[in-house]
């Protein structure tokens, strides 16, 4: 039977959670800078971003690995959440901007002297938080409703998500929607009263990201163990059969799609104060593709895979863009190509395969009559349809 949380998994999650949420920030806060154990502010900030990316990766996998929906536009929801938080942060700059006016600099530059109506409520953090959830969620709901009702599936769904993202990207470049144009929002100063430019605040944001990741991981683990999770995977494997079993697959897909978008939006909202900027470039389909690479490399159809993939690939990118900046896109493309062709279950699959080989070697040849299926990773979780 399918157990949602095995003891081993819980223990591992607890330990890692402890490490990320308690140990790491303490090492940043309480050890002297020269010490070997010290984790620099820069590293904290970097890891905070990685963890937000890991959440984004989980949402991609929730759709792709578990439900068979390859969305090429998760970065859109990530960015929308980021933009909503960005609007709050812009309001928090107050009059400390370049023009020393109580409205954001870019508005002054465009000739505005007072705040446009839709900007006004954003000086309230609860309101901004609500928008972080509502805007991506509403967009996902409308798009998903239309798409799933029309039974749009597979690659066509993917292409449509790409088109939607492209349209949004074009839209956000325009100055007249008053969202910062191609420069976006930046120069944030304060959040909830704390100065964003100081170590302790960034540490707090990092910790929040780690906690959020843990919650999302545990939540998704629980979700995939429920009947809904089973239906999800059934939809991935054989949607027609699901329909014939009397499930309104469209409703299930819509639920998961909206959930994924809201989580992505929240991740984006945590990401933006840490990285200090949000602009339409974040919405480009290239960004969504990166998230997909993280999941593919880490291992789709699992929950740890996206986390591992996000951290691994981003760390690789940080190194590569310093060492071989001209070749990074080639490396990224090559990685995607190789993983799709040769390593469909990613690093997690590789680890499982190695573990299985190790186990088999330890145990010796299989006894006669023993079913091979539980030792070989032969069942290819091919979510591709």
């Amino acid at each position: 039977m399918y157990k949602t949380f095995s003891k081993r998994e819980l223990l591992a999650a607890f330990l890692l959670g402890l490490l990320a949420i308690v140990v790491v920030p303490s090492l940043n806060a309480y050890t002297p800078e020269a010490s070997f154990f010290h984790i620099s502010d820069f590293a904290i900030n970097l890891w905070g971003k990685y963890l937000c990316y890991a959440v984004l990766a989980i949402t991609v996998d929730l759709l792709w690995g578990y439900t068979g929906l390859l969305s090429l536009g998760q970065s859109l929801y990530f960015s929308l959440g980021g933009y909503m938080m960005g609007m709050y942060l812009m309001r928090m700059i107050g009059s400390l901007g370049q023009y020393h006016m109580p409205i954001p600099d870019f508005l002054v530059f465009l000739g505005w002297t007072s705040l446009p109506a839709f900007w006004k409520p954003f000086n309230s953090f609860p309101f901004a938080l609500m928008m972080v959830i509502l805007l991506p969620g509403a967009l996902a709901f409308v798009f998903g409703f239309l798409a799933f009702r029309s039974r749009i599936r597979g690659v066509y769904f993917s292409i449509l998500t790409q088109a939607l993202t492209y349209a949004a990207w074009l839209l956000f470049f325009r100055n007249n929607i008053l969202m910062g144009g191609n420069n976006g929002f930046t120069d944030f100063k304060f959040m909830l009263g704390h100065d964003l430019r100081t170590g302790p605040t960034q540490r707090g944001l990092y910790t929040a990201s780690a906690i959020f990741l843990l919650l999302v991981y545990l939540g998704c683990k629980w979700l995939t163990g429920t009947k809904l999770g089973k239906v999800q995977r059934a939809i991935r494997d054989s949607e027609n059969r699901v329909l014939f079993s009397g499930y309104a697959a469209a409703n299930y897909k819509l639920f998961i799609f909206v959930l994924a978008s809201v989580i992505a939006g929240l991740a984006g909202a945590l990401y933006v104060p840490q990285v200090g900027i949000i602009n339409p470039g974040q919405m480009a389909t290239g960004k969504s593709l990166e998230a997909i690479v993280w999941v593919a490399v880490g291992g789709r159809g699992t929950l740890v895979g996206p986390i591992i993939g996000a951290i691994f690939v981003n760390a690789l990118e940080s190194w590569a863009t310093r060492a071989y900046p001209d070749y990074w896109p080639i490396m990224l493309g090559g990685m995607l190509l190789l993983v799709v062709l040769f390593l469909p279950r990613g690093l997690v699959g590789l680890a499982e395969h190695a573990l299985a080989l190790f186990k088999r070697a330890r145990r010796g040849p299989a006894a006669p009559g023993e079913v091979a299926s539980d030792t070989s990773p032969a069942v290819n979780h091919a979510p591709a349809k």
């Binding site: 039977m1 429920t226 009947k227 995977r233 054989s238 499930y247 299926s373 069942v379």
Partner: protein, 254 residues
Amino acid sequence: MSPRKEFILAAEDVCKTFDGFKAISNLNFYMDEGELRTVIGPNGAGKTTFLDLITGRTKPDTGSILFGAPGVDLIRKSEYEIYRLGIGRKFQTPTVYTDHTVFENLLLSLEGSRGVFNALSSRVTPAQRDRIHEILKTIGLSARVGAKAGSLAHGQKQWLEIGMLLAQNARLLLVDEPAAGMTDEETVKTGELLLSLAGRHSIIVIEHDMVFVRQIATRVTVLHQGTILCEGTVDEVQGNERVIEVYLGRKAKH
């Protein structure tokens, strides 16, 4: 005036054309409750299309398909509404959930709420567990309850699918070529299974294998070019001149 016979399924004047090709033409088909009806016919006769029309996968151009008494016109219903009325279909190629266990396959097919939020909060009740085990016994897969459905043999997958129809408590089972790809033993077992289900359930079986048809059939309908060619017992049908001509392509020797 004699009361109108209560049919489980009554299709009248059904026509369906695909891109100029008349797949079903003026089809009139009647079936009693609890009956096990076998439908045969050469390729392209429209057998699978007929099932598609019943389950709502395609809509007919004209005609009506009434289910149960009083008859509900299936034409107006969507696929999963038809499903919920109690019509289940088993496809030619087994479509079980390969990544789920046998138990889970049956669990997902069990009668009950299909709602999203219910799926979040529901747990497996003892009653459900019992029912699943009961079905497993019927289809003979109790030993493989925890195995991934993808690892089952071909014949076992077919039985699992039939099991899924049972879990759904279908009143009308539409079984498309159940003997396809099975060994002789498996074929016999499948025949026995179907016969045991008749009575409590109404079953339409589409088949090519005449040996299998002999095993299970009481009443046979022959479909040809989208319309009924003849109906009767197996012997009547096999002896019918038109049927021979249609199947063998030449007039029977007098």
